[in-house]
Amino acid sequence: MANTFELIASSTVGSGGASSIDFTSIPSTYTDLALYVSGRTTSNAGQNWAPTRGTFNGSSSSWSYKGLYGDGSSASSGSSASSSEFGDVSSSLTTSNTFGNLSIYIPNYNSSTNKSVSVDFVSETNATTALSGLIANLWSNPAAITSIGLPMNAAYGLWAQYSTAYLYGVKNA
């Protein structure tokens, strides 16, 4: 049987910005989920890129991640035993109207085991320095995922207008 890739829901941030983009009541009829985000923030914490966090079922606990990054001049790594990272988008310091991209894949989201999340991202700006990276997240919780939240850290303001998030379901992956 051919694999299927279906749009479940999407959202575009309006003129006031948004502190979070949350998908709730996610159907359990797929095997995997894929979330694609084009994002920018309304503020910055003195840097060109803004790290995003994720929550499953409203939970920001039991998360950990390890990431590899490159910014055009140097490579680095990062990790946390207590939080998630879903990649970095463009902050308000970057060229106007540029948006970073997050590609987030969540296999076996209905399983009764811990959940992995792989992220491939790049922030953008119309200049030489941007951040790209690959991140492996682990949510140490066996619950099936029914909601996904993308809260923006207030240090970077809000999700800026025209940021978008598209949630897809993948069958027979």
Binding site: S11, A18, S19, S20, D22, A45, P151, A154, A155, L167
Partner: protein, 73 residues
């Protein structure tokens, strides 16, 4: 001034709601922002300290940064 809002999309109905944050949620966001700012300040301080130590070591060795790279290549 109204509180910031969040977007909630119900995937079973396709209905999108724009919901104003509660004061408790605002307080949580502010706290998270303060933690992030502290973490960044610590990282910046460490980077500055490392750069100073590196420069001092190069002076002590009497070589340039490029020469040090050559040695490590």
């Amino acid at each position: 001034m109204p509180n910031p809002t969040k977007i909630v999309i119900d995937c079973s109905t396709g209905i999108e709601e724009i919901i104003e944050l509660t004061d408790a949620e605002i307080a949580e966001m502010t706290y998270a922002a303060e933690l992030a700012a502290e973490k960044k300040a610590e990282e910046d301080a460490k980077a500055a300290s490392d750069a100073t130590a590196k420069a001092a070591l190069l002076v002590k060795l009497g070589i340039t940064a490029d020469e040090a790279k050559l040695l490590l290549a």
